[in-house]
Each structure stands twice: as C-alpha cells, then as structure tokens.
Symmetry: C2
Subunit: 113 residues, 2 copies
DNA sequence: TGTAATATATCGTTTAATGATATATAAGTC
DNA sequence: GACTTATATATCATTAAACGATATATTACA
C-alpha cells in the first residue's frame, strides 16, 4: 500500500463522509470540492490535499470507483454499492449521535436551540 | 504546550464530542469510558489512551474543567459553559450532516433507513 | 498578454487516535 | 492469606488523518 492509504474506513470521518456523499452522483475531484462548499454554505471546505488523499483511500476501500465520463482530461468518480451502504450506516450513526445529545439535554432541562 | 495538546478544537471529533457530552454531568475518567460505551450500546468505545489525551486537550481549550467531588483518589471533570455552547453547535452541525444526506437520497429516490 | 478559474497531484508537517503497557487500589472469592 | 477481577489513572510510541504549501497544466476571458 502506498503512503497515507489504508483499507480500514470502518467509520467515515467528516471529510470522507462528505466526499462519499457528493459521489452519489459521478463527479471529478474539483467539482467534489465545490459541491461540498456549496452544500454546506461554506461551513465545511476540503482542500486538494485532503481530498486527493481521501479519494485514494475511498478507492482502495472500494467505496468509490472510477467513472468514465468520456473526458480524458479529468478523472471522475462515483460511489459503489458498498460505499452507499456504508454511507447509510454513517448517516444512521450521526443521527444517533444527535439523539444521544438530545436525550441528555432534555433530561437536564437545557435548551438545544 | 505539552505533547499532543493543541488549543484548537474548533470542531469536535467524535471522540471529543462523546467525552464532552458525557461531561454534561461531572464524572471521573473511568466513568466517562463506561458511560460512552453504555450510551452507544457498545458501538462506540474509547480506550484510556484516547480518553486521557482528549481530556488534556479539552482542559487546555477550557471546554471542560476539574470538578471537586471530594475524592482525593479520583479526578472528576465537568463541561464548562464554553464547552456546552460548542457542544450545541456540534449537535447542530451533525444534524446538518444528516439533512444533507437526506436531501440527496430523497432526490435520488433512494431509501435511507 | 495576462490573470483568474479550472483541474490534478504530491511533499512534508501537524494533529488525532490508539495499542501496548505500567501502576495502584478495592472488592470479591477460593 | 493468596488470587483474580474490576476500578482508576497515566504515558510511550506508533499509526492514521488532515492539511498548508506548492507544483503543474489547461481553459476562459478581458
């Protein structure tokens, strides 16, 4: 395995989560970065270094794959079925993280906006 | 600053999120680990190394503080007001992460359960 | 002609997470 | 009393993740 590339990815970091989510539709790297910024209203942004290292990992873990968009100048990617399944689990996990907080705030009578 | 201790913590990692959440009520380190395992039904667990390094960072960032439980053999901690505010923001951020996924899955007509 | 936007990629460093290990006390049991 | 399990805190050293800086090339457009 090359540098900075592991096959683990049992749980997705926020960076990997957003990249995988944006690849529910095929996209090339640059468009992934833009889509994430747009989707999160500039609150979450990923630079090229984080993006390309994460893409390598997602490819190695077979959570995304190359997608042929007939453009030799750009590389496009798309989430695999395995990637979509993991993404669903990770959405569920984040829902639970929110629920855990809501429970505790509720029990304490504290407002959670 | 010592080893592995930064003052950043603008966004909470999952580990820091759960530790901070469990410290909405005062607890000592060992109890934090148990509480998180229990709360997440064993799906998320933090070992002593991750916990104590994260506690140091949370202390340095003043998101938690020492809490005197009159037991000289154990150190207890509790979330500060600043910590609670950040926690609320981080709950919100995770809600948005879920919403972003729900939007995309809905648009694609894919089931998300 | 230049310069801003698009597009991909890597190096090297910083930050985060964690396995392994050490230490000590308390509680239960054979 | 001796032994084991649970409680409790802590650090070292390694692995994994994130990312600033930088390089390169193309396209758009003023």
């Amino acid at each position: 395995m090359g540098r900075n590339v592991s096959l683990e990815m049992g749980e997705l970091t926020d960076t990997a989560y957003y990249i995988l989510l944006s690849l529910m539709d095929a996209k090339h790297g640059y468009l992934i970065m833009q889509t994430i910024e747009e989707m999160t209203n500039q609150r979450f942004s990923i630079g090229p270094a984080s993006m390309y290292t994460t893409i390598k990992k997602l490819l190695a873990a077979e959570l995304i794959q190359l997608f042929d968009d007939h453009d030799p100048k750009r590389k496009s990617y798309i989430a695999t079925e395995k990637g979509i399944e993991l993404l669903k689990e990770e959405v569920k996990r984040r829902r639970e993280m929110v629920l855990h907080a809501e429970e505790i705030f509720k029990r304490k009578g504290e407002q959670l906006t």
